[in-house]
């Protein structure tokens, strides 16, 4: 089922008189295609969870409409929307067993949808098998690990075959290894069931790795929507560029002069299609190639071996932060004892931004 958000806006009125209202979500319009997994991504307070709660019906939008398929559900209470919602802290009922927790949504069905006890148990078993917790049905939530609780929460959300599955930071309470495993699990389950899924996270790696499409938000506004790789390669502004990628993009103050890109005194790139003047230059960590005659001359601080590749830490006068992080292949020739290291920059990993508006400036190398 496709989900359509139309000019969705949520304003929280000021707590005190005379205070400013908080615009949590500002004019969000997007059509989530049927059967896809969408990642809502942004720093905390960007409105991603509010968007999710509006889709679920737990919060009412101030303006705008929400459609499930062709049905306008804006006025429909949460109880009647038929969404499955997985909470950050799972919200499993602690006094019920795993089986009772999973059966809970089914017991709410009334009238012609009412199920027999046997049918409920069969469906609960099915959902439990899908998330691979069939051996734990008689346990209480407190007797389960975080990862198992998360699976129970997903099973509970799936058991009533929801029209839309919503996941609110489902992995943030898990440890690193479990997070990796569970996110693959979520992807598998989503593909297997084909339920349109919205996934909220502040972890860009998480969002990029499992989403069909990501929505990058900041302070209530949607900055960019697109396929993960496309958003990463082709960010619309500095915020999106900075937010995606680990290690983060390296940002320099630079200028364009006569078809040349200069970082401080170093000419790093020849380019065309850009007017002369100051620019902000972002270079992805994988955009640095150590070369004896490279244009960018940096002071070498450290070389960190990470196995598959090597992280070269250095500084440059035009760099905005403390240390430049370049990821290079482990067989690259780097003299660790040297005071300086020179890089050639890969043109497709260099992004230019307007210093005023922070919007992307396209160029031809």
């Amino acid at each position: 089922m496709k989900v359509v958000l139309q000019n969705l806006t949520k304003v929280f009125p000021a707590r005190k008189k005379g205070g400013a209202d908080t615009v949590a979500v500002d004019d969000f319009t997007y059509e989530i295609p049927d059967g896809k997994l969408i990642g809502l991504l942004g720093p905390s307070g960007c409105g991603k969870s509010t968007t999710l709660y509006m889709i679920s019906g737990l919060q009412a939008p101030t303006r705008g409409r929400i459609f499930f398929g062709d049905q306008d559900v804006t006025q429909l209470p949460a109880e009647e929307r038929g969404v499955g919602l997985v909470f950050q802290n799972y919200a499993l009922y602690p006094h019920l067993t795993v089986l009772q927790n999973i059966c809970f949504p089914l017991e709410n069905l009334k009238g012609k949808d009412k199920l027999s006890k046997a049918e409920m148990h069969r469906r609960a078993q099915e959902a439990a098998a899908l998330v691979q917790i069939d051996g734990l049905l008689e346990r209480k939530p407190s007797e389960l690990s975080g990862g198992q609780q998360q699976r129970v929460a997903i099973a509970r959300a799936l058991v009533k075959t929801p029209r839309v599955l919503l996941l609110d930071e489902p992995l943030s309470n898990l440890d690193a290894r479990l997070r990796l495993q569970t996110r693959e699990e979520i992807r598998r389950i989503q593909k297997q069931t084909g339920i349109t899924t919205v996934f909220v996270t502040h972890d860009q790696e998480e969002a990029m790795s499992i989403s069909d499409c990501i929505v990058v938000m900041k302070a209530g506004r949607v900055h960019q929507i697109g396929k993960p790789q496309q958003v990463y390669d082709d960010p619309v502004d500095l915020f999106v560029a900075k937010f995606l990628g680990t290690p983060p993009i390296n940002v320099f103050d630079g200028r364009v002069q006569g078809g040349k890109l200069l970082l401080g005194e170093d000419t790093v790139l020849e380019l065309s299609g850009v007017a002369d003047g100051k620019v902000i230059v972002g270079v992805r960590p994988e955009g640095f190639v150590p070369e004896e005659k490279g244009g960018l001359k940096c002071k070498l601080l450290n070389v960190e071996v990470m196995g598959r590749d090597v992280s070269v830490v250095s500084t440059h006068p035009a760099f905005q932060g403390a240390a430049i992080r370049a990821i290079v292949a482990s067989d690259a020739a780097i003299n660790r004892e040297a005071e300086t290291v020179r890089f050639r920059l890969k043109p497709n990993k260099v992004l230019l931004f307007d210093p005023e508006t922070e919007l992307r400036i396209p160029f031809r190398a």
Binding site: L58, E79, G82, L85, F87, N89, Y93, P94, F104, K160
Partner: protein, 297 residues
Amino acid sequence: MEQQNKKGWLYLLPAFLFLGAFLVYPLIDVFVYSFEESFNFASQTYTGVGTFNFSYVLHDPYFLQALKNTCILVLITVPLSTGLALLISVALSSVQKLRELFQTIFFLPYVTNTLAVGLVFMILFKKTPYSDGLMNLLLGVFGIAPVDFIDGPYWAKMFVLCFYTVWIVMPFKILILTSALASVSQTYYNAAKVDGTGKWRIFTKITLPMISPSIFYLVVTGFIGAFKAYSDAVALFGVNLNNAQMNTIVGYVYDMLYGNSGGYPSYASAAAILLFSIVLTITCINLLVSKKHVHYV
């Protein structure tokens, strides 16, 4: 480890000393008195040892009256006050406006002196040559003949006593239950709502189990408190409770020790031990029931 153990005991010692001197020793003493016939405080003598004290008390019509009164009081006020408190707490939790004002109003009886409240109840219920009392005025509106609630028929007096008890114990229960309700995380309600759960089902399947430890605490302390009722009856009906047919077990114990007919520590002890065993039995039953219905997280 050994050293630590000793230190731990040392820290517990003050509490043990006080408990021993003021709780355990008197308890044993009362137990001993209850088997010593015609014990005399002044001379510290008794005439024999046996179960006569218990048999006397159990055949004393005043004790049986007190036992009956106490049981009626317990059976009516404990469920009623807990249920009403739950109702009010749920209502309080669901209102936003004036919540603090209501909370203060509901809590007022708790900080008001028992005897002062008793006086107010007298004005409400007592029939004097000059006035029938506020309650009777109200009944008169519905065409019901005035009843003397303080010196009148047994059921009217019992009604006032129960009314009074419920009113006086409720604030504390409301306090406990509102804080218990507030501690139930909103996410559970959100989760239930998204799953299409009706209001009543949310209340019975989520709210009640989640606050069951608090309810259990209130039921247990409620039973114990109601069995020990005394001052409330005095506040309403004066010190001669036997005359008023409104005595309670604790009142009986007090009368046996210090009342007009006082000076019978053996009978008082036997009655106290009987009360103790009743309360103990009820509490044990409570604990057994709680195993199944109270959920500690």
